[in-house]
Each structure stands twice: as structure tokens, then as C-alpha cells.
Amino acid sequence: MSTSAADAAERVAASFRADGGRTLATLSRAVGDIALAEDALQDAYLAALQRWPRDGFPARPSAWILATARNRAIDRLRRERVGREKLQRLAALEPAPAASRDADDSGAGENAVPDDRLGLIFACCHPALGIEARIALTLRTLAGLTVEEIADAFLVPHATMAQRLVRVKRKIRESAIPFEVPPAERLAERLADVCAVVYLIFNEGYAASSGAQLVRRDLCDEAIRLARVLLALVPDEREVMSLLALMLYHDSRRDARVREDGTLVALPDQDRSTWNRAKIDEATALLARANGLGAPGAYQIQAMIAFAHASAASAGDVDWHGIAELYGHLDRMAPSPVVALNRAVAIGFADGPLAGLAALDALPREALESYHLYHVARADVLARLERSTEARAAYRAALALTQNAAEQAYLRAKLRETA
């Protein structure tokens, strides 16, 4: 490889890292088809590898890539002889249609490239798509993960994930799912769908439901990064800032949560000095901003609960009464057996194990029976009440219900302790 070719490869890679996501979003929106946009974009980067060493580097690489990808998309659409509307929208991407096909760079600065990622986020998280497909597509197009990385994160074969992505992109194209920011009257609802996808990605990373590793850090990092992108695009949405704060609080504890040998450390037993202060401070600043913006939403309340843990000097200083109240508030806003369970656990710390057991026994058992943390919660209060036979039975019930190796190890240790 000649020097200039190596240099070009470097610059093409840099351009891809800096603008690849935004350019993909712009093209996808213009053609209403992520697969076509991906192909055209790949063509453009390949063309850059060949042309930049020969013709010189463009002053604005991202504009060059967008114009070239746009022309490749036009070529592809012409070959397919469909989509006159799409051709028109592509033509409209460039302010000066007379510009040469080489897209010589002159005129407006880099900011001339519009940021269409918000529209892409709404398309990828559209409620008409299956939830697994939404997660995979968001990781692929917005986080830029490879198909293989996504497949490995969710423990599915590569071919299965590839097929899932092909299918979801086809549905977006064929049913004309829009790459637009929804109108004001539906924005909150659709933003909640987007937040749900981001939080599911985080949770899959934070408490991997199966496999040897308790925390899949890459997924946590991607979810936080996605929330940052989202917040940059909708800077005044308090549920988005609250979601980011919530994830940062959780994430600040991820090193303290798992021992070297992979076993889980419960919150009260964690070494608080290993919590990441920078993340906690950032989360607290975000939460303070959200709190100043009006009545709290569901993520905001969860972030407030996480704040109550993060701000306590020691496990004994946690304001469990306040936490129980917040869970009660959350349960009234969005009733869920899991939230009610968390409230009962908080009561157990606030008012003692007897009150905790009474609160747990008041929960709808049929809704929680197959949830391992329900049995863990019962086992914990029973152990505190020194009713060890019942406690051991509850730990065993929990053990039978989790596939996560770190949680299993934690529960076996609890069983040994509860003699």
C-alpha cells in the first residue's frame, strides 16, 4: 500500500467514525429504506478509498460522502425502476442540483449535513416493529454495532440476527414507516417507546438474563451513549434526562456489584468507595435539572430512588421510608407487580422484617410466583426473622428460577449462610 493509500484509509475511517451514523440517517430518511441507505453508503466509502488518494482529499469529507452515496442510491433505484418519489427526495438532498457528481466541496460548512438521526431513532423504535427487532436495529444503525456483536450480546446465532435485521428493514421499507419526528400530540408516547428500547438494552447489559457474565458492559455503554445522543437531540425532555441519570446511577455501581469470581454483591454489602463518583455526580446534575421541569415521570421517580441510594453515606443511612414512598408513587402511576415488590422490600428495611413480610404477603402471589427476586425478597426477611427453614425454602425456589450464573452463585452462598 502506498503512503497516500494508507493515509486515505485512515481518513476514510475517520470520516466514517465522525459522520457515518448521521449520513446513514439522512440517506435512510430520503429513501425510506435503511438497507438501501447502508448499501449506498458502503459504495461511497469504497469510492472514497479509491478516489481520495488519486484526486486529493475533499475539504468536507462528510459532504463528499453524502453526495456520492446519494448518487449511488439514485443509480440503484434507477436500476430497480421503482420509486420515482424516492428519486425526487434524493435529488432534494442537495441544495444545488447542478453540482458535479464528484461533489467538489465548496460553499457551506460541515454543518450543512442535516442531523436526521432523531427521525432514524423513531423509525427504529416504531411500535409496529417487534421489540427484539427494535433493539437489534437500534444497536445496528444508531450504535453502529456489527451484526455479529449484536448476535453475541443476545446469545443468538449470527445468521438468526442477520435475518432478523433483514426482515425488520424490509418491513420499514414496505410499510413506509416514517423517518420523522412524530407530531407534538404523539411525541411523548413515541419518546416513551424510544426510552423503553434504550433501557431494555441497558438492562440486558446490566443484568444479563442468562450466561456466565452478570454484566455485559458493552451493552450498558451503548445504552448510555444512545441516551446521550437522544438527549442532545431533544435537550429539554425530562424523561430522557431522567433515563440517562437512572442508567448512570446504576452504572456507577457496576464494579461494586460483582466480585472477582463473578458472584453478585447485594446493594447493602457493596463497597461504596468503589462507586463511580463522576457518574453519580453527572446523574445527580441531570436529575436536578429534570426535577426543575415539572411533575415527575416514571424514569424520574426511578432516578430519584437511585439517588436515595447513591447519596447515602452508608448502607445504614439509606432513607428507606422515602424510597418506599417513591415506589408507591411509581406503582400508582404505572401499576406493576415488580414495582409493588420493590415497595414491599423497602418497607422491610424502613419498618423492620415483620412489616416487610406482611407487605410481601399482601402482594398478588400468582403474578410474582415465577419471578426469582420475589422469592429472594421473602427469603431475606424470613432470614432476618430467623425463620431459617422457610428462608432456605424460599432461596431454593429462587435458585430454581434464575439462569444467570452470578445470581445462582449468590443464592447458593445465601443458602449456606442460612443454616
Binding site: R81, S175, A176, I177, P178
Partner: protein, 116 residues
């Protein structure tokens, strides 16, 4: 883009009586008029009950004509709307307003443009 809204009844043991039909008409009329006002209505029609259905199959060049719908299901296709919308979101909004979505379900399918 054109979309077809396929209106399925809720699963139940019998089809609506003529009286039930008549009672539901004003809601359907209002829905159709609303679509028309917005220039979204292309075509729409209710279908006669499945008791009037005949199924035709041709196997090895031999036609087989049978009484009744193709599959014995408790949910049946009661009618359709064809609407015009720039994207799926508009079609979903229309489906949400459709009286059939309240007790049955509305399947939204894009119509493939074969050109010409």
C-alpha cells in the same frame, strides 16, 4: 402509499344479527365520511357474512368448489377499507379510529404498487 385495513370481527360464536348491524352503521358511516373529508378514502366495502362464502381451489387442473370459508376460524373478515396515507403512521391513526378496532381488530397491510 395505499394501505388496506382488513377488519376482523372479535372471536365469538355467531355473526352479528341484522339489528346489531343496523345499530353499528352510524359509526361506520361517520368513519368513512371522516376519511373522505381528509381525501384518504380510496375504497371500502363490508362483506356479506361467511355463511354466504364459497371457496374455490384448483388442484391438478380440477376445480374444487366448497361451501363456506377456507378456514374454520372464529374470527372472520367483515370488510375492508383502502386508504391513502404518506406513511404507516397515518394508516395506524386511521385504524385507531375505525369502529371495527373497538371490539374486533384491524390489520393494516400496505398495498404493493406493481406500477403501470
Amino acid at each position: 402509499m395505499k394501505y388496506m385495513l382488513l377488519i376482523y370481527s372479535q372471536p365469538r360464536d355467531r355473526e352479528p344479527t341484522p339489528e346489531e348491524w343496523a345499530a353499528s352503521m352510524p359509526a361506520w358511516q361517520a368513519f368513512s365520511e371522516d376519511l373522505q373529508r381528509r381525501g384518504a378514502l380510496v375504497d371500502a366495502a363490508p362483506l356479506a357474512p361467511t355463511s354466504s362464502a364459497t371457496t374455490v381451489r384448483v388442484r391438478d387442473d380440477k376445480p374444487v368448489v366448497t361451501d363456506g370459508p377456507f378456514a374454520e376460524t372464529k374470527e372472520w373478515l367483515g370488510g375492508y377499507y383502502i386508504i391513502e396515507s404518506p406513511s404507516l403512521d397515518g394508516a395506524i391513526e386511521a385504524a385507531k379510529m375505525c369502529p371495527g378496532a373497538k371490539d374486533g381488530s384491524v390489520e393494516v397491510r400496505p398495498i404493493v404498487d406493481v406500477g403501470g
